[in-house]
Protein backbone atom coordinates (compact mmCIF):
# COMPACT_ATOMS: atom_id res chain seq x y z
CA UNK A 1 0.00 0.00 0.00
CA UNK A 2 1.23 3.47 -0.75
CA UNK A 3 1.66 5.58 2.37
CA UNK A 4 0.56 9.08 1.52
CA UNK A 5 1.55 10.30 4.96
CA UNK A 6 -1.94 11.12 6.15
CA UNK A 7 -1.66 8.85 9.12
CA UNK A 8 -3.80 10.95 11.41
CA UNK A 9 -7.24 10.60 9.93
CA UNK A 10 -9.22 8.68 7.38
CA UNK A 11 -9.94 10.42 4.10
CA UNK A 12 -13.38 11.95 4.51
CA UNK A 13 -15.05 15.27 4.42
CA UNK A 14 -14.26 18.06 6.88
CA UNK A 15 -17.58 19.36 8.12
CA UNK A 16 -16.90 22.78 9.57
CA UNK A 17 -20.54 23.12 10.67
CA UNK A 18 -20.31 20.10 12.92
CA UNK A 19 -16.88 20.19 14.54
CA UNK A 20 -16.51 21.38 18.07
CA UNK A 21 -13.72 23.93 18.42
CA UNK A 22 -13.92 24.14 22.19
CA UNK A 23 -10.49 22.60 22.76
CA UNK A 24 -8.99 24.75 20.06
CA UNK A 25 -10.32 27.92 21.66
CA UNK A 26 -8.97 26.80 25.00
CA UNK A 27 -5.59 26.28 23.32
CA UNK A 28 -5.65 29.82 21.95
CA UNK A 29 -6.36 31.14 25.42
CA UNK A 30 -3.40 29.26 26.85
CA UNK A 31 -1.06 29.96 23.92
CA UNK A 32 -2.29 33.05 22.01
CA UNK A 33 0.79 33.17 19.79
CA UNK A 34 -0.73 30.24 17.85
CA UNK A 35 -3.28 32.66 16.34
CA UNK A 36 -0.48 34.01 14.18
CA UNK A 37 0.46 30.72 12.45
CA UNK A 38 0.36 31.06 8.66
CA UNK A 39 1.00 27.42 7.76
CA UNK A 40 4.48 27.78 6.31
CA UNK A 41 5.70 24.39 7.53
CA UNK A 42 9.03 25.69 8.81
CA UNK A 43 8.41 24.02 12.18
CA UNK A 44 7.85 20.58 10.66
CA UNK A 45 10.69 21.01 8.16
CA UNK A 46 13.22 21.59 10.92
CA UNK A 47 11.73 19.23 13.53
CA UNK A 48 14.15 16.80 15.21
CA UNK A 49 11.49 14.10 15.65
CA UNK A 50 10.63 14.28 11.97
CA UNK A 51 14.09 13.01 11.06
CA UNK A 52 13.19 9.56 12.41
CA UNK A 53 9.40 9.32 12.15
CA UNK A 54 6.63 10.59 9.88
CA UNK A 55 5.68 13.10 12.56
CA UNK A 56 4.64 16.52 11.28
CA UNK A 57 4.02 19.08 13.97
CA UNK A 58 2.36 21.41 11.44
CA UNK A 59 -0.12 18.69 10.48
CA UNK A 60 -0.81 18.04 14.16
CA UNK A 61 -1.47 21.67 15.08
CA UNK A 62 -3.51 22.19 11.91
CA UNK A 63 -5.71 19.19 12.80
CA UNK A 64 -6.13 20.69 16.26
CA UNK A 65 -7.14 24.02 14.70
CA UNK A 66 -9.77 22.23 12.60
CA UNK A 67 -11.19 20.37 15.57
CA UNK A 68 -9.89 16.97 14.44
CA UNK A 69 -8.44 15.62 17.67
CA UNK A 70 -8.44 11.86 17.01
CA UNK A 71 -5.03 10.29 17.43
CA UNK A 72 -3.29 13.57 18.19
CA UNK A 73 -2.36 12.69 21.78
CA UNK A 74 -0.56 9.60 20.55
CA UNK A 75 1.08 11.52 17.70
CA UNK A 76 2.35 14.21 20.07
CA UNK A 77 4.31 11.61 22.05
CA UNK A 78 6.80 11.59 19.20
CA UNK A 79 7.84 15.16 20.04
CA UNK A 80 10.97 15.43 22.19
CA UNK A 81 10.28 19.03 23.24
CA UNK A 82 13.66 20.08 21.91
CA UNK A 83 12.30 23.50 20.92
CA UNK A 84 13.96 23.71 17.52
CA UNK A 85 10.61 24.51 15.89
CA UNK A 86 10.14 27.49 18.21
CA UNK A 87 13.52 28.85 17.12
CA UNK A 88 12.65 28.88 13.43
CA UNK A 89 8.97 29.91 13.38
CA UNK A 90 8.76 33.12 11.30
CA UNK A 91 5.56 34.17 13.07
CA UNK A 92 7.00 33.75 16.54
CA UNK A 93 4.62 30.99 17.62
CA UNK A 94 5.81 29.50 20.89
CA UNK A 95 5.55 25.92 19.66
CA UNK A 96 7.09 24.24 22.66
CA UNK A 97 4.51 25.76 24.93
CA UNK A 98 1.83 25.05 22.31
CA UNK A 99 2.74 21.36 22.30
CA UNK A 100 2.71 21.12 26.09
CA UNK A 101 -0.70 22.80 26.16
CA UNK A 102 -2.08 20.56 23.40
CA UNK A 103 -0.94 17.51 25.37
CA UNK A 104 -2.53 18.82 28.55
CA UNK A 105 -5.88 19.64 26.95
CA UNK A 106 -6.02 16.24 25.23
CA UNK A 107 -5.01 14.38 28.43
CA UNK A 108 -7.65 16.18 30.49
CA UNK A 109 -10.44 15.24 28.13
CA UNK A 110 -9.29 11.67 27.75
CA UNK A 111 -9.35 11.05 31.48
Amino acid sequence: MIDFGFALKQTRQENLDKVSLEKYHKLLELEPSFKRCFQCGNCSATCSARQFTDFSIRRVHTSFRRGEYDGLAQELRKCMLCGKCTLVCPRGVNLRSLIINMRQILDETEK
Binding site: C40, A45, T46, V88, R91
Partner: protein
Amino acid sequence: MKKVAIIGAGPAGIEAASILARNGVEVTLFEKSETPLKNLQDKAFLFPNFQSAQEIIDDLSGKLLTDRITTAFGVDIADVKWQGAEWKLVDSKEQTYVADAVLIATGYQVFDAHRKEELGYGIYKGVITSLDMEQMIKHGKILNANGDEPKRVTFLQCVGSRDEKSGNHYCSKICCVTAVKQAIEVRKQLPKCEASVFYMDLRMWGQGFEEMYRTAQEKYGVSFVRGRISEAAGTFDGRVQLKSEDTLMGLPLKMNTDLLVLMVGMEASCGTKVLGKACDISGDYGFIKSVNPHLYDNETGKPGLFAAGTCKRPMSVSDSINDARSAALAIKDYLDTIKIEN
Protein backbone atom coordinates in the same frame (compact mmCIF):
# COMPACT_ATOMS: atom_id res chain seq x y z
CA MET B 1 12.55 81.17 -8.66
CA LYS B 2 11.58 78.68 -5.95
CA LYS B 3 14.19 76.07 -5.20
CA VAL B 4 13.62 72.41 -4.41
CA ALA B 5 16.20 69.95 -3.16
CA ILE B 6 15.64 66.29 -4.03
CA ILE B 7 17.64 63.67 -2.18
CA GLY B 8 18.21 60.42 -4.09
CA ALA B 9 18.57 59.94 -7.86
CA GLY B 10 16.60 56.73 -8.20
CA PRO B 11 13.55 56.45 -10.48
CA ALA B 12 11.46 58.41 -7.93
CA GLY B 13 13.90 61.29 -7.43
CA ILE B 14 14.56 61.72 -11.14
CA GLU B 15 10.90 61.64 -12.15
CA ALA B 16 9.97 64.24 -9.53
CA ALA B 17 12.92 66.44 -10.56
CA SER B 18 11.89 66.33 -14.19
CA ILE B 19 8.26 67.20 -13.53
CA LEU B 20 9.13 70.08 -11.20
CA ALA B 21 11.67 71.44 -13.70
CA ARG B 22 9.09 71.35 -16.48
CA ASN B 23 6.84 73.36 -14.21
CA GLY B 24 9.29 76.19 -13.70
CA VAL B 25 10.95 75.07 -10.49
CA GLU B 26 14.70 75.07 -9.96
CA VAL B 27 15.83 71.65 -8.72
CA THR B 28 19.04 70.36 -7.20
CA LEU B 29 19.22 66.57 -7.26
CA PHE B 30 21.57 65.03 -4.70
CA GLU B 31 22.85 61.47 -5.08
CA LYS B 32 25.41 59.82 -2.87
CA SER B 33 26.73 57.52 -5.62
CA GLU B 34 28.77 58.90 -8.48
CA THR B 35 26.06 57.82 -10.94
CA PRO B 36 22.26 57.88 -10.73
CA LEU B 37 19.90 54.88 -10.86
CA LYS B 38 22.26 52.51 -9.11
CA ASN B 39 19.41 50.17 -8.21
CA LEU B 40 18.46 49.72 -11.86
CA GLN B 41 21.99 49.26 -13.13
CA ASP B 42 22.29 45.79 -11.67
CA LYS B 43 18.98 44.63 -13.21
CA ALA B 44 18.49 42.95 -16.56
CA PHE B 45 14.80 43.01 -17.44
CA LEU B 46 11.96 44.50 -15.47
CA PHE B 47 8.65 42.88 -14.65
CA PRO B 48 5.90 42.95 -15.74
CA ASN B 49 6.80 43.49 -19.43
CA PHE B 50 10.43 42.27 -19.52
CA GLN B 51 11.54 45.68 -20.72
CA SER B 52 15.30 46.07 -20.50
CA ALA B 53 16.38 48.03 -17.44
CA GLN B 54 18.84 49.90 -19.67
CA GLU B 55 15.97 51.41 -21.67
CA ILE B 56 14.41 52.76 -18.49
CA ILE B 57 17.79 54.09 -17.35
CA ASP B 58 18.33 55.86 -20.69
CA ASP B 59 14.88 57.38 -20.66
CA LEU B 60 15.11 58.61 -17.08
CA SER B 61 18.69 59.89 -17.49
CA GLY B 62 17.56 61.91 -20.51
CA LYS B 63 15.09 63.75 -18.31
CA LEU B 64 17.98 65.24 -16.34
CA LEU B 65 19.29 67.18 -19.34
CA THR B 66 17.65 70.50 -18.61
CA ASP B 67 19.02 73.79 -17.26
CA ARG B 68 16.59 73.79 -14.38
CA ILE B 69 18.08 70.62 -12.85
CA THR B 70 21.47 70.81 -11.18
CA THR B 71 22.88 67.39 -10.34
CA ALA B 72 25.09 66.90 -7.31
CA PHE B 73 26.34 63.31 -7.57
CA GLY B 74 28.73 61.86 -5.02
CA VAL B 75 27.02 63.96 -2.33
CA ASP B 76 25.71 62.10 0.69
CA ILE B 77 23.13 64.19 2.56
CA ALA B 78 23.47 63.56 6.28
CA ASP B 79 21.04 66.05 7.79
CA VAL B 80 18.05 68.18 6.82
CA LYS B 81 16.63 70.90 9.08
CA TRP B 82 14.16 73.76 9.00
CA GLN B 83 15.79 77.14 9.57
CA GLY B 84 12.83 79.46 10.08
CA ALA B 85 12.57 80.56 6.44
CA GLU B 86 14.08 77.71 4.46
CA TRP B 87 15.34 74.15 4.64
CA LYS B 88 19.03 73.56 5.19
CA LEU B 89 20.75 70.40 3.95
CA VAL B 90 24.10 69.27 5.28
CA ASP B 91 26.23 66.67 3.52
CA SER B 92 28.75 64.26 5.00
CA LYS B 93 31.54 66.79 4.35
CA GLU B 94 29.66 69.50 6.30
CA GLN B 95 28.81 71.44 3.12
CA THR B 96 25.42 73.15 3.33
CA TYR B 97 22.70 73.87 0.77
CA VAL B 98 19.34 75.66 1.11
CA ALA B 99 15.94 75.08 -0.48
CA ASP B 100 12.30 76.14 -0.17
CA ALA B 101 11.12 72.54 -0.18
CA VAL B 102 12.79 69.14 0.13
CA LEU B 103 11.82 65.79 -1.35
CA ILE B 104 13.25 62.70 0.28
CA ALA B 105 13.61 59.91 -2.31
CA THR B 106 16.37 57.95 -0.65
CA GLY B 107 14.95 54.52 -1.49
CA TYR B 108 15.65 51.03 -0.23
CA GLN B 109 18.40 48.50 0.27
CA VAL B 110 18.05 44.72 0.16
CA PHE B 111 17.93 42.59 3.28
CA ASP B 112 21.38 41.26 4.23
CA ALA B 113 21.03 37.51 3.63
CA HIS B 114 23.95 36.73 5.99
CA ARG B 115 21.49 37.41 8.79
CA LYS B 116 19.63 34.17 7.97
CA GLU B 117 22.55 31.95 8.84
CA GLU B 118 20.56 28.73 8.48
CA LEU B 119 20.18 29.43 4.76
CA GLY B 120 23.94 29.38 4.23
CA TYR B 121 24.51 32.62 2.32
CA GLY B 122 28.20 33.50 2.43
CA ILE B 123 28.96 29.94 3.59
CA TYR B 124 28.03 27.82 0.56
CA LYS B 125 28.83 29.18 -2.88
CA GLY B 126 25.67 27.69 -4.33
CA VAL B 127 23.53 29.96 -2.17
CA ILE B 128 23.03 33.37 -3.81
CA THR B 129 20.59 36.28 -3.55
CA SER B 130 18.08 37.58 -6.06
CA LEU B 131 20.43 40.48 -6.69
CA ASP B 132 23.26 38.06 -7.62
CA MET B 133 20.83 36.21 -9.91
CA GLU B 134 19.76 39.50 -11.52
CA GLN B 135 23.42 40.10 -12.48
CA MET B 136 23.93 36.54 -13.74
CA ILE B 137 20.89 36.98 -15.99
CA LYS B 138 22.11 40.37 -17.14
CA HIS B 139 25.51 39.00 -18.14
CA GLY B 140 24.07 35.80 -19.59
CA LYS B 141 26.19 33.76 -17.19
CA ILE B 142 24.03 31.67 -14.89
CA LEU B 143 26.63 29.39 -13.30
CA ASN B 144 26.74 27.03 -10.33
CA ALA B 145 29.40 27.00 -7.60
CA ASN B 146 31.76 24.99 -9.81
CA GLY B 147 31.41 27.41 -12.71
CA ASP B 148 29.25 24.99 -14.75
CA GLU B 149 25.78 25.30 -16.18
CA PRO B 150 23.32 24.44 -13.39
CA LYS B 151 20.81 21.63 -13.83
CA ARG B 152 18.45 22.93 -11.20
CA VAL B 153 17.80 26.39 -9.80
CA THR B 154 15.56 26.87 -6.76
CA PHE B 155 14.07 30.13 -5.57
CA LEU B 156 13.05 30.77 -1.96
CA GLN B 157 10.53 33.52 -1.23
CA CYS B 158 10.23 35.82 1.78
CA VAL B 159 13.87 35.92 2.90
CA GLY B 160 14.01 38.71 5.46
CA SER B 161 10.33 39.54 4.93
CA ARG B 162 7.26 38.21 6.77
CA ASP B 163 9.72 36.95 9.33
CA GLU B 164 9.67 37.81 12.99
CA LYS B 165 13.19 36.44 13.37
CA SER B 166 14.55 39.14 11.04
CA GLY B 167 12.39 41.78 12.69
CA ASN B 168 10.47 42.42 9.46
CA HIS B 169 6.80 41.54 9.70
CA TYR B 170 5.91 43.16 6.40
CA CYS B 171 5.75 41.74 2.89
CA SER B 172 8.30 43.23 0.47
CA LYS B 173 5.76 43.10 -2.29
CA ILE B 174 8.07 42.77 -5.32
CA CYS B 175 9.95 39.53 -4.62
CA CYS B 176 7.15 37.09 -5.58
CA VAL B 177 6.92 38.46 -9.08
CA THR B 178 10.71 38.91 -9.26
CA ALA B 179 11.15 35.17 -8.58
CA VAL B 180 8.70 34.36 -11.38
CA LYS B 181 10.56 36.78 -13.67
CA GLN B 182 13.93 35.24 -12.83
CA ALA B 183 12.65 31.65 -13.12
CA ILE B 184 11.40 32.46 -16.62
CA GLU B 185 14.77 34.01 -17.50
CA VAL B 186 16.60 30.92 -16.25
CA ARG B 187 14.41 28.69 -18.41
CA LYS B 188 14.91 30.99 -21.39
CA GLN B 189 18.68 31.04 -21.07
CA LEU B 190 19.09 27.40 -20.00
CA PRO B 191 16.22 25.34 -21.43
CA LYS B 192 17.62 22.15 -19.87
CA CYS B 193 17.76 23.57 -16.35
CA GLU B 194 14.84 22.97 -13.96
CA ALA B 195 13.44 25.90 -12.03
CA SER B 196 11.30 25.72 -8.89
CA VAL B 197 9.91 28.32 -6.54
CA PHE B 198 9.25 27.68 -2.83
CA TYR B 199 6.52 29.99 -1.63
CA MET B 200 4.08 30.54 1.22
CA ASP B 201 1.72 32.75 -0.79
CA LEU B 202 2.26 33.95 -4.34
CA ARG B 203 1.36 37.61 -4.34
CA MET B 204 0.61 38.55 -7.92
CA TRP B 205 -1.02 41.88 -7.19
CA GLY B 206 -0.05 43.99 -10.20
CA GLN B 207 -1.29 44.18 -13.74
CA GLY B 208 0.27 41.37 -15.77
CA PHE B 209 1.72 39.55 -12.74
CA GLU B 210 -0.80 36.70 -12.62
CA GLU B 211 -0.34 36.24 -16.36
CA MET B 212 3.42 35.96 -15.81
CA TYR B 213 2.74 33.24 -13.25
CA ARG B 214 0.55 31.34 -15.73
CA THR B 215 3.19 31.72 -18.44
CA ALA B 216 5.87 30.45 -16.06
CA GLN B 217 3.79 27.31 -15.46
CA GLU B 218 2.50 26.75 -18.96
CA LYS B 219 5.26 27.84 -21.27
CA TYR B 220 8.37 27.54 -19.13
CA GLY B 221 7.48 24.56 -16.92
CA VAL B 222 8.50 26.28 -13.69
CA SER B 223 7.35 24.26 -10.67
CA PHE B 224 5.88 25.78 -7.53
CA VAL B 225 6.11 24.14 -4.11
CA ARG B 226 4.21 25.48 -1.12
CA GLY B 227 6.60 25.49 1.79
CA ARG B 228 9.33 27.49 3.43
CA ILE B 229 12.88 26.17 3.27
CA SER B 230 14.09 25.90 6.85
CA GLU B 231 17.73 24.95 6.29
CA ALA B 232 20.27 24.70 3.51
CA ALA B 233 23.55 22.80 3.68
CA GLY B 234 26.41 22.31 1.24
CA THR B 235 27.07 18.90 -0.31
CA PHE B 236 30.50 17.42 -1.10
CA ASP B 237 30.06 18.17 -4.81
CA GLY B 238 29.31 21.86 -4.37
CA ARG B 239 25.54 21.61 -4.52
CA VAL B 240 23.04 22.69 -1.89
CA GLN B 241 20.71 20.40 0.06
CA LEU B 242 17.40 21.88 1.15
CA LYS B 243 15.00 20.94 3.91
CA SER B 244 11.39 21.99 3.79
CA GLU B 245 7.89 20.72 4.27
CA ASP B 246 5.66 20.34 1.26
CA THR B 247 2.70 21.80 3.12
CA LEU B 248 0.16 20.82 0.47
CA MET B 249 1.20 17.17 0.68
CA GLY B 250 1.83 17.41 4.42
CA LEU B 251 5.16 15.69 3.88
CA PRO B 252 8.75 16.50 4.69
CA LEU B 253 10.76 17.38 1.62
CA LYS B 254 14.43 17.11 0.84
CA MET B 255 16.13 18.03 -2.38
CA ASN B 256 19.45 19.00 -3.90
CA THR B 257 19.87 22.00 -6.11
CA ASP B 258 22.78 23.66 -7.91
CA LEU B 259 21.73 27.16 -7.00
CA LEU B 260 19.51 28.34 -4.17
CA VAL B 261 18.34 31.88 -4.86
CA LEU B 262 17.23 33.81 -1.77
CA MET B 263 14.56 36.36 -2.65
CA VAL B 264 15.78 39.08 -0.31
CA GLY B 265 13.31 41.67 0.89
CA MET B 266 13.38 45.45 0.65
CA GLU B 267 14.39 47.46 3.71
CA ALA B 268 14.70 51.20 4.22
CA SER B 269 18.11 52.35 2.93
CA CYS B 270 20.68 53.78 5.32
CA GLY B 271 19.99 57.27 3.97
CA THR B 272 16.28 56.77 4.51
CA LYS B 273 16.81 55.71 8.10
CA VAL B 274 19.24 58.55 8.87
CA LEU B 275 17.10 61.32 7.36
CA GLY B 276 13.87 59.87 8.78
CA LYS B 277 15.39 60.08 12.21
CA ALA B 278 16.98 63.51 11.70
CA CYS B 279 13.62 64.98 10.59
CA ASP B 280 11.55 62.97 13.05
CA ILE B 281 9.44 61.40 10.27
CA SER B 282 10.60 57.82 10.69
CA GLY B 283 7.84 55.17 10.84
CA ASP B 284 7.75 51.40 11.08
CA TYR B 285 10.99 49.57 10.19
CA GLY B 286 12.77 52.88 9.47
CA PHE B 287 10.67 53.72 6.39
CA ILE B 288 9.45 57.34 6.11
CA LYS B 289 5.95 57.77 7.44
CA SER B 290 3.44 59.76 5.42
CA VAL B 291 0.73 61.78 7.12
CA ASN B 292 -2.11 59.80 5.58
CA PRO B 293 -1.73 56.89 3.18
CA HIS B 294 -5.01 57.71 1.41
CA LEU B 295 -5.09 61.46 1.22
CA TYR B 296 -1.65 62.93 1.91
CA ASP B 297 0.75 60.17 1.05
CA ASN B 298 3.67 62.41 0.06
CA GLU B 299 3.34 64.78 3.02
CA THR B 300 5.44 64.18 6.10
CA GLY B 301 3.68 66.52 8.51
CA LYS B 302 6.55 69.04 8.26
CA PRO B 303 5.66 71.93 5.94
CA GLY B 304 7.85 71.79 2.84
CA LEU B 305 9.22 68.32 3.52
CA PHE B 306 7.96 65.52 1.25
CA ALA B 307 8.75 61.87 0.53
CA ALA B 308 8.35 59.61 -2.51
CA GLY B 309 9.17 56.07 -3.64
CA THR B 310 10.62 53.13 -1.76
CA CYS B 311 11.86 55.27 1.14
CA LYS B 312 8.22 54.94 2.26
CA ARG B 313 7.59 51.23 1.68
CA PRO B 314 8.42 48.50 -0.85
CA MET B 315 7.28 49.46 -4.36
CA SER B 316 7.91 48.54 -7.98
CA VAL B 317 9.56 50.95 -10.42
CA SER B 318 6.23 52.03 -11.90
CA ASP B 319 4.73 52.62 -8.46
CA SER B 320 7.79 54.63 -7.39
CA ILE B 321 7.51 56.78 -10.51
CA ASN B 322 3.79 57.35 -10.02
CA ASP B 323 4.38 58.24 -6.40
CA ALA B 324 7.05 60.74 -7.48
CA ARG B 325 4.60 62.40 -9.87
CA SER B 326 2.10 62.90 -7.09
CA ALA B 327 4.87 64.24 -4.87
CA ALA B 328 5.84 66.76 -7.56
CA LEU B 329 2.26 67.99 -7.66
CA ALA B 330 2.10 68.30 -3.87
CA ILE B 331 5.38 70.24 -3.87
CA LYS B 332 4.17 72.55 -6.63
CA ASP B 333 1.02 73.28 -4.63
CA TYR B 334 3.10 73.98 -1.56
CA LEU B 335 5.43 76.36 -3.42
CA ASP B 336 2.40 78.27 -4.71
CA THR B 337 1.12 78.80 -1.17
CA ILE B 338 4.41 80.14 0.11
CA LYS B 339 4.58 82.50 -2.87
CA ILE B 340 1.41 84.20 -1.63
CA GLU B 341 2.80 84.62 1.86
CA ASN B 342 6.06 86.19 0.63
